[in-house]
Symmetry: D5
Subunit: 164 residues, 10 copies
Amino acid sequence: MSRMKDEENLTKLGSNGTKYPQDYAPEMLETFVNKHQENDYWVKFNCPEFTTLCPITGQPDFATLYISYVPDVKMVESKSLKLYLFSFRNHGDFHEDVVNIIMKDLIKLLDPRYIEVWGKFLPRGGISIDPYANYGRPGTKYEKLAEMRFSRHDIECLDKVDNR
Amino acid sequence: MSRMKDEENLTKLGSNGTKYPQDYAPEMLETFVNKHQENDYWVKFNCPEFTTLCPITGQPDFATLYISYVPDVKMVESKSLKLYLFSFRNHGDFHEDVVNIIMKDLIKLLDPRYIEVWGKFLPRGGISIDPYANYGRPGTKYEKLAEMRFSRHDIECLDKVDNR
Amino acid sequence: MSRMKDEENLTKLGSNGTKYPQDYAPEMLETFVNKHQENDYWVKFNCPEFTTLCPITGQPDFATLYISYVPDVKMVESKSLKLYLFSFRNHGDFHEDVVNIIMKDLIKLLDPRYIEVWGKFLPRGGISIDPYANYGRPGTKYEKLAEMRFSRHDIECLDKVDNR
Amino acid sequence: MSRMKDEENLTKLGSNGTKYPQDYAPEMLETFVNKHQENDYWVKFNCPEFTTLCPITGQPDFATLYISYVPDVKMVESKSLKLYLFSFRNHGDFHEDVVNIIMKDLIKLLDPRYIEVWGKFLPRGGISIDPYANYGRPGTKYEKLAEMRFSRHDIECLDKVDNR
Amino acid sequence: MSRMKDEENLTKLGSNGTKYPQDYAPEMLETFVNKHQENDYWVKFNCPEFTTLCPITGQPDFATLYISYVPDVKMVESKSLKLYLFSFRNHGDFHEDVVNIIMKDLIKLLDPRYIEVWGKFLPRGGISIDPYANYGRPGTKYEKLAEMRFSRHDIECLDKVDNR
Amino acid sequence: MSRMKDEENLTKLGSNGTKYPQDYAPEMLETFVNKHQENDYWVKFNCPEFTTLCPITGQPDFATLYISYVPDVKMVESKSLKLYLFSFRNHGDFHEDVVNIIMKDLIKLLDPRYIEVWGKFLPRGGISIDPYANYGRPGTKYEKLAEMRFSRHDIECLDKVDNR
Amino acid sequence: MSRMKDEENLTKLGSNGTKYPQDYAPEMLETFVNKHQENDYWVKFNCPEFTTLCPITGQPDFATLYISYVPDVKMVESKSLKLYLFSFRNHGDFHEDVVNIIMKDLIKLLDPRYIEVWGKFLPRGGISIDPYANYGRPGTKYEKLAEMRFSRHDIECLDKVDNR
Amino acid sequence: MSRMKDEENLTKLGSNGTKYPQDYAPEMLETFVNKHQENDYWVKFNCPEFTTLCPITGQPDFATLYISYVPDVKMVESKSLKLYLFSFRNHGDFHEDVVNIIMKDLIKLLDPRYIEVWGKFLPRGGISIDPYANYGRPGTKYEKLAEMRFSRHDIECLDKVDNR
Amino acid sequence: MSRMKDEENLTKLGSNGTKYPQDYAPEMLETFVNKHQENDYWVKFNCPEFTTLCPITGQPDFATLYISYVPDVKMVESKSLKLYLFSFRNHGDFHEDVVNIIMKDLIKLLDPRYIEVWGKFLPRGGISIDPYANYGRPGTKYEKLAEMRFSRHDIECLDKVDNR
Amino acid sequence: MSRMKDEENLTKLGSNGTKYPQDYAPEMLETFVNKHQENDYWVKFNCPEFTTLCPITGQPDFATLYISYVPDVKMVESKSLKLYLFSFRNHGDFHEDVVNIIMKDLIKLLDPRYIEVWGKFLPRGGISIDPYANYGRPGTKYEKLAEMRFSRHDIECLDKVDNR
Ligand SMILES: [Ca+2]
Ligand SMILES: [Ca+2]
Ligand SMILES: [Ca+2]
Ligand SMILES: [Ca+2]
Ligand SMILES: [Ca+2]
Ligand SMILES: [Ca+2]
Ligand SMILES: [Ca+2]
Ligand SMILES: [Ca+2]
Ligand SMILES: [Ca+2]
Ligand SMILES: [Ca+2]
Ligand SMILES: [Ca+2]
Ligand SMILES: [Ca+2]
Ligand SMILES: [Ca+2]
Ligand SMILES: [Ca+2]
Ligand SMILES: [Ca+2]
Ligand SMILES: [Ca+2]
């Protein structure tokens, strides 16, 4: 819903509204407290509107990101996640780095029991790249969870990637 | 089949028909006895018509819920489940809370051997959230079942979540 | 993005945010001026989150609405359209009436050159209903446009409606 | 929602509930008055749960029926339509006859401006049959509508019918 | 292929043809000898044309059944299975009972090494129910097979069940 | 349903059953009388199990045939159509000829008001061929129908033919 | 293909490579001469990577654009089109304006016989907007082409827009 | 089927087999006589294995070509068409030129009543190009056919071209 | 590519070309030597063009076969496999036998480390049958591989088999 | 983006641009250093534009390749991978060899922790072949990873391979 009813109010509304960051901004990320810490449960974010710039050529790259985690005490606030992902928009990183950086920022923020990040980028030069990284808290059963899920990642590929 | 043949009967028919709850109503849930207690078997409910209100903004949220359980003595009556889910319609809870609350209400009602609840919400701000929680009766093999299924949850994501 | 960072601010934020209407509220609809009145062009709204109540049984109904129009001087502001459609949430009307009412309200609001509204409802009793209404300004070529589009409506049905 | 909360009430509830006809029962069909007679609009029923018996072999046949009409004064009540379609369940007619009979019964009932009925049957012997009939009130523009739609019926077949 | 070339022969042909049972008829089931008893192999039946009646309301229910088994000495003759499934057509049972009854009848008939039955019913009241039961011969490795398959049942739900 | 309950009866049952032709057999085609001659209506056969032999190389070819016609007095009996199509199984003709021959045989048999035949063959050498022929009775409005449908054939190709 | 083999060369390569515009830049568009001016033919660009900013809220919007035209003397160079579309990345315009602006810029650049632009935007607030504009050179048959295509735009909506 | 049973025969078999052209080779095209000249009918080739080289960068381009024509006296032999299309493999032409050249070569070869060629290329730089050209023999009704089909080309774009 | 350029050469070309067997012909199968015997790797054949005759009724049956194996010394030549599968065309066997026979013939031919054969047949009488058999060389780790894959066969059925 | 703005610059631009290899060219492959060596993560390349020549017949073959690996110190540069895959374009190898050769070249280049290559080829003679090979560094846990993934390869085939 992007349009104001009264065009005169645009600036005002824009100014006391959301502030979109102009470059990579991990400080946008905020948290709230998990009310169900006694249980393990999954929270997954589907983010099909991720875009960044190629650090070499400056051309735009597009991806769908899937971020899944098992919260401990802290949970990521979803609007702040949106703004954080927006902050890659005019920033440049390689595909593999994007996925690793996002995972690391969220680990630092949340200290989650488990987290995984999967990026599915649109093709360049007829090839597309899908990096995947995951993490389980060291010395816990979640570390084993990470190993198991890593080993089984994408094991039955039925997704037809035919570039059209 | 929502329309009466005789419009004059509308009020009457509505009054002696089903009563839809106006707010969160776990008391709607009713049970009947499982005739096949000697066996483990799965019962799964696909609920694509779930809707609730955001507790902050009041805007509507939509989800498909998948509820699967292994009954012990009691089974949930499906029409009462429908009314219970309806009771979230004008009630507000966060996505993660909805999934946890439904699971807990059903555990309390049924004391099932195993249960899991998966919510797939429509996107807000370009991101969608899918919480998943499960439970196996403590101290039984169903507790292990819960651990195993939790660890393998959503391990091969092929569902194209691209917002169109 | 429905969750606040600071839970204490919920009420405040909710109060100075959007006000969701509690019943049918055509007064929610607002307009802005078309900047391209010299041209005919199409604006289509895809609204997959429409829900209303059955006036007889009180049970919820769900639909996807497609609203397409050719603007003249006034255009409908999309957030106000969202709130207007929300106002059917706890209101009851038959499927065919919903589609006709929405079209008439938008004609009254916009005096458009052309408009059409198509509702695709989820099944009840194993049958689903899809009403479609359209309108072209009388005495203009848009009246003929309406006749032509009406006559060709849904002429090649390939959409598999198998209830699953 | 098929199950009662109290099994003892089953018979009672069944008895004061809907009466399902045991054989072809056009008398089940009921009507109500069209509130929008000043306008032409489409009402379409998607009926994926149609089943009948082969009059020769007694074997069951299954189809999805699509019924679309432009109402004049009378409209068909959807629950009565459901019961009418149910009445073919233990009745036998050939595929082409089913489609013609349903159309004729609805013409007699409604005297509609326009109507069309399309049946898509499941395969027998590796072949499936899809009859289609339509009607426009003679001497009106709807007769021409029927001719036009008949001539363009199924003109771009993209539905992959591979029997699985 | 349901239509006779010569209509006069209909009765005769119908009479010396297949006899369709009028109510639940497990006696229809027949067997033949497995020629490959030295090997384990799977036989799966896909049965998308299953229909029964709700025991409370009398309304029709529809499902796709998937029946998979590992034969021992006896195998189920497929035409007799078809007639057996037909016998539920005018019979009433709850969804969960249907799946359990079919499995038990086939166990009694075949004494199979392993069997599983999965029913996917069309929605009623906006919710659909999918029961699943399985069995491995007690005291054999097939009992473990049943436990393993039970625990992994439907673990990655990607089937979009959105009622349209 | 291909298997007998009693293997001893196989030959007998096979002998008094259907006789499948060994080569091109237009004489298999039989007709019955159209009960709805006063109306135009469509009958369409979807035939995904068509196979023939290449007249040069002897290799098998596979196609889905779509046969649609508007009957006049005679209608084709569907089982005889099945046997007729079977008769191409060990016969050889080019793709374009197959489609033309079938259409001509059915015109001769039925003297229909209108008929069209569309073959969609599986690829050979990375290319697939889809011939389409149609016919309207000369000197009638059906001749014009044929011209119109011919001119609009396959005008919006969305079927993704990517050989897998 | 975004990554350099030798990271030291990044700056150099970036500098003598493509220059991406920082704001709306119609001057990026370049043309070349149509070699087939004697014929009418269609050129269509599918542009699924279009993104812009909401002028009110600053939030990102995403769309797939379809641009189709019939060239006269000048054709648009595809890489320059890509850079032009990129120039909306950090620029703000409403959905309807974007589509009209792009069409007008291309008309000014190319003086085409015919052109149409269709934008399909990702949803905001549960609603998505699809504007469509077209143009035929005034006083020519292409003006009529534009009227015809405008009147038939999107007449058979089968695209399931359900936000997941 | 690419592998020989006896590897010693490879050279021999390769040498007396098909000769694949090394560059653009319209002379590969051969014809045979149409046996059904009295009728108009369509022949369509689906060619998803087309590849060529970019004349500037030398990079490979990939497309699916759809070639449809109404034959007069001559028809194109399908294996020769395959070899002709292969001859673009190491040849360079722009997308629009490829489509026009193929159409012109086939017109010259066949003097068809009508022909159309549609190329759907895989994306480069996030954009894909789909050229379409058609032709009807001048001064005949096929010229009008070409105009009609040209005007209606791709009028209802539902093909989701989203690069994945 | 079924058509010769010079029709006079047909017989000659046909005669020195491939000889298609007239009945079950395991002797058609030929092998070549595996160049990568030091590694385990999978080779899978997708065979959607399999057809045979019902031994009782003589009616044709159709299936897609999936054959996967881990080669040891010998590999099956793909053209000979094609001819072998063709040899079932006019031969009759039950569905379960077909799958077992093909597996046994390939085991005899190749002495593979592992092999599995899955047949997915088109429906007869509203039911389709999918047999699956597999084998691992006894006394090796491949025997365990067979047990594991057998136990997990088809464990998550998402293939919608709805007979159309 | 294949077209130059200034056609005179074509040669120059082509000459100082990318050099495409004319035959199998493993020397094209280049690497860069993994910045995240402390973690295991997946990088997957989807390559739907792979084409090669049959070594016997010279005919083109097409495949989609999926290459997934867990990097150690070295990572493959994606543009060099593209050029390497291009080098098979006019080179001939059997399907199984292609997959093995690519895997071996990448092992030699990268010394990865783990790698797998899956080729899905388009059909020839009605059959398609999908080879799959994988590798884990000997004596490490990645060797076990390879065994596990090999044993589970393609265990639930739902990809409908129907050759169109
Ligand atoms: Ca494709
Ligand atoms: Ca999409
Ligand atoms: Ca279905
Ligand atoms: Ca559906
Ligand atoms: Ca298919
Ligand atoms: Ca849906
Ligand atoms: Ca159309
Ligand atoms: Ca395909
Ligand atoms: Ca396919
Ligand atoms: Ca959708
Ligand atoms: Ca989606
Ligand atoms: Ca796509
Ligand atoms: Ca794709
Ligand atoms: Ca799986
Ligand atoms: Ca299906
Ligand atoms: Ca199908």
